[in-house]
Symmetry: C2
């Protein structure tokens, strides 16, 4: 076999360690490992790192210009196959630090043969996403998976193995891969600020490239109601930011379909009964405390109307509330095939319900706020379940200090709790009560934190002196000038173990996690940079973990790999923010705290 | 005069308060104050707010489709005039909160007559930037300025007065305007990560729109040397990130010319003798401690080689250092006509010089590190001055704890210090020593802060529990996980008084300020969002101050105005980050801390 071992100097010249096949090289003007800034040996890079990868003798070959992916036909898989074939032939990825491999030219890779055992299993929680990929030194590669969704994961892996111009691909390689956690998500809030459909599609595409599989769409909130619903069109017509800032049923269909083609579930959230100020424009009668100044001067924090501007809760005592809400739930269940339905139920602010006269009378007669919430849940939860959905609620519905329901009304079989407060502690409380959980701890997974309080007229910023060491410039109980500060770096996210402190049995109830982008200070201008590469960090931790073979946390080694992956994402049109100076990327390990 | 008073409902329908001129409206299908999300009365908005604006009877007229700007011919002014004429006719800005004015149709504005007293004064520090703009209810508008640079400021103001489709412009208005501080800058580091020329041009364009006038270009550092210099081409050929990540002399010429056409000085910085690791690729003999691991395991912080990766200082004892550096300075002075030359001189790290054997011998013989720096300054400062430049140094050259020069070698007439540490205190120290100062306090003006430590392998991020109240999750002495955290919000920047604590006499030595974007965690993916609208906040404070007529800080009122300006910047192609949910913008005052 003709082979040549190659490394690259910074100047871009090719250094040949064996000259036996020089004539092969001269026939190829632009070469797969040419990189003008590479100087250090590296391994091939797949992000998230596969569970098992064997590549004993680093070799590579060219990708044949007539390269094919031989695949069964399938509504969602076939577009993915077409997409990946196009990607691997056209991407021409220039690694920052190029692989150093024995490159052979005699057997370009002609095809990947894709075998899927079961073409029928739908995309849902717990679906088998495993795959096996083998690329022999001679002959076609084989990708086998139980489901089309596993096949898509394997195709992504294959695409990341390919690099260079003309494209090269490693050979003598085999991978067995499957995720640790079944629920690996990104939450996006499209109510506080609006994101056009193209931005959501790009986010789903980037998620798929990171093997993330749940786009949790926090569609509505107090600020705007962008979702056009056939049974309740007034909610968006009056409650959205305008006709050009709405999601039509056709938009939703496009997003859901795009999700399927990328192996990404689209999980809708209609937050209620809190976070519903925007509903007031269509139905003033069902919303309490709407359009009030959120925290009147001179009142206590406990008497505020909302946790932030703007205000508004659905009124649980008004039958019209449920008339509207059942229409909303019905339409959402029709638009989104996803078997989970996120119903919100976070942050019930006592002052908002107390602002309503009917509720005041109810409370005066000995009723409680928690009873009001139970009324609301009892009037909606069974309806959602009747539509064959599992209901996801934010943890507050069970753990809020003031307003919470009795667990007996939420069956663990049909309920999942979504934790966000109190680090790992609330996850522990939920699973020890027997509920399944999705983790979005704000201490680790909130992508919006650390950009400063967004409120205007904040006199605390009028400070002319430096921060004293030990007396930090601290707003709202958190650093970085925001309640959940500081900024969550990729390492903070990567290092978090979402089953920390749980028993083995409890840990089995943890379905997975989601990074969350609340949009007080985000919109399309910053979307990609806020999410990527930090969501990539979670993606690897939830897919294959954050530890090496010896059980040691692998964040040092991950730095170099994630740097590379960040640049590849950028070249794929995802505006991921840089983690370090490029110098650090070209000098692996040199920008560490300790080597 | 036909007139109609108009306000807008959220539905977008036009509500007519006087019907006398309805027929005029019906002739115009898209109207200058049409906005689908506006509901609240507002004033016209110019950012930064002019010093004096009189508009006693809010009226407006249409901009004539044949609108002209009648102007003297000038190399830089004429392109600006052409640009602004095109902008006001084509921008069709939709205000978020539309002005409510008496609109007249009988006298569309046909022209602005631009008068400039002195067409010859070059763009330099202290140049007169004042202008007067009057727009009468009938007849042409008049814009008068002493210099072309003041004329450009006035044109920008005029452009921001125009809104709507077709374009409207207020009448009965007069403005007298001039800046409080002459030096209003943005610093960009293009060494740690590279920015293509188009990104620099866009930044200069955005600066001009904010009446900022100094683009401080931190061109080189330890990470890369992107500037191609005719006398020293090897520095960029070997020290840049690659041939596609360099600035050629033609690139520089284009950037400088673009700056002149926008009234923005391009102030180059070649940082030395520290921050010069990238020079080692071309000249290994003149750089100490290059390409070392920055902080060897087990050593004290005082013994590190650099304040961050990577390492490298110019060797003050090697004559070759000055041979190269004089070539560099000469070329830079040729490429950049700007009368200021920023020579850096920050962060001399003792360990880096101490790593050199010749320096070790010098120190063993009783020499000091400060003597070494004095040798360096005495071998470069007079040369820079001989090229008719005023030299800007970072404050360290006089204020560093370990390595600093005797002030006697830096004449106040030819030296400006650039402060960045210790809040207002170091500014006080510099001006009380009689030096002029530019302020970039890292507590207020560093735009990179708060995004977390960029170093890899940082075990401090491996923490599985929540932050305890009062025991913040604190890295490197600052919140937000970075040494200078937390993130500097626009309000923190807006509220800073750069002459805080100074006497009147001392305050006169403060030339102005610069926000600074160091690029450890920035590159083109995040450039606009990191700079804007936070640099706009400084722009107003340095132009017209941060207080209202009564002397009260005006950050509450500024919130609404800056929100509007942020959206206008976005529509002009500047990806400024959002400050708040759009709901806050459409509901002025409702997202304040206290009303």
């Amino acid at each position: 076999m003709a082979s040549v071992s190659v490394s690259i100097r910074k100047s871009g010249s090719v250094q040949l360690q064996s000259m036996s096949s020089l004539h092969f090289i001269l026939l190829i003007p632009l070469f797969c490992f040419i990189s003008n800034i590479s100087s250090v040996q590296s391994r091939i890079n797949v992000w998230p790192k596969p569970r098992n990868l064997s590549w004993l003798h680093p070799q590579a070959t060219l990708l044949s210009p007539s390269f094919r992916i031989i695949s069964p036909k399938h509504r969602y898989l076939t577009p993915a196959v077409d997409r990946y074939r196009h990607l691997v032939l056209s991407e021409r990825h220039r690694s920052i630090v190029s692989p150093v491999v024995n490159l052979t030219f005699t057997h370009p890779l002609q095809a990947v043969k894709l075998t899927v055992t079961d073409l029928k299993t739908p995309l849902q929680h717990g679906v088998d996403e495993s795959y096996t990929l083998t690329i022999p030194t001679v002959g076609a590669a084989n990708l086998t998976a139980r489901t089309v969704w596993g096949a898509m994961r394997g195709l992504e892996t294959f695409s990341q193995l390919v690099w260079g111009d003309p494209p090269c691909v490693p050979t003598g390689l085999s991978i067995y891969d499957s995720p640790i956690f079944g629920h690996r998500g990104v939450m996006l809030d499209t109510s506080r600020n609006y994101y056009g459909v193209e931005h959501i599609l790009r986010t789903i595409r980037a998620m798929s490239a990171n093997k993330l599989n749940v786009f949790h769409w926090h569609i509505t909130d107090s600020h705007s109601f962008p979702l056009v619903l056939p049974s309740e069109p007034e909610l968006a017509r009056k409650g959205s930011y305008g006709p050009d800032m709405q999601y039509s049923p056709a938009d939703v269909k496009r997003i859901v379909e795009y999700g399927f083609r990328h192996g990404v579930r689209v999980l809708p959230e209609i937050d209620a009964p809190g976070h519903t100020g925007s509903w007031v424009e269509a139905y003033p009668e069902i919303v309490t405390c709407a359009n009030m100044f959120w925290w009147p001067d001179g009142t206590d924090w406990a008497d505020r109307f909302a946790s932030e501007p703007g205000t508004g809760h659905l009124n649980p005592l008004n039958p019209k509330t449920y008339e509207v809400l059942h229409n909303v739930i019905h339409d959402v269940a029709s638009l989104f095939p996803e078997p989970f339905y996120h119903a919100g139920a976070d942050e019930i602010i006592p002052g908002c319900w107390r602002a309503d006269k009917k509720i005041q009378a109810f409370l005066s007669n000995g009723g409680t706020l928690s009873q009001l919430l139970e009324t609301f849940i009892n009037s909606t939860f069974p309806f959602i379940v009747s539509l064959n959905r599992t209901v996801v609620y934010w943890e507050d519905v069970l753990l809020d200090d003031n307003v919470k329901v009795n667990p007996s009304i939420l069956s663990p079989e049909k309920t999942i709790l979504h934790t966000w407060n109190n680090g790992p502690n609330n996850t522990k409380r939920i699973v020890s009560a027997g509920y399944r959980v999705v983790v979005s701890s704000s201490d680790f997974y909130y992508l919006d934190c650390g950009h400063g309080n967004f409120l205007g007229n904040d006199s605390r910023f009028d400070r002319q002196i430096s921060d004293e060491p030990g007396k930090p410039f601290n707003y709202d109980g958190g650093e970085g000038g925001s309640w959940c500060g500081p900024f969550k770096t990729w390492q903070r996210i990567y290092d978090y173990d979402i089953t920390y402190g749980l028993t083995e049995e409890e840990a089995r109830l943890v379905l997975g996690g989601e990074v969350a982008l609340w949009s007080e200070q985000a919109d399309p201008t910053v979307l990609d940079a806020r999410i990527w590469p930090r969501a990539s960090a979670m993606a690897e931790t939830l897919w294959s973990g954050n530890r090496d073979e010896t059980g040691k946390k692998r964040y040092a080694e991950a730095t170099d790999r994630l740097n590379e992956w960040r640049y590849r994402m950028v070249s794929r049109g995802i505006g991921a923010e840089p983690m370090q100076p490029l110098w650090c990327v070209t000098h692996p390990g040199m920008c560490n705290m300790v080597q």
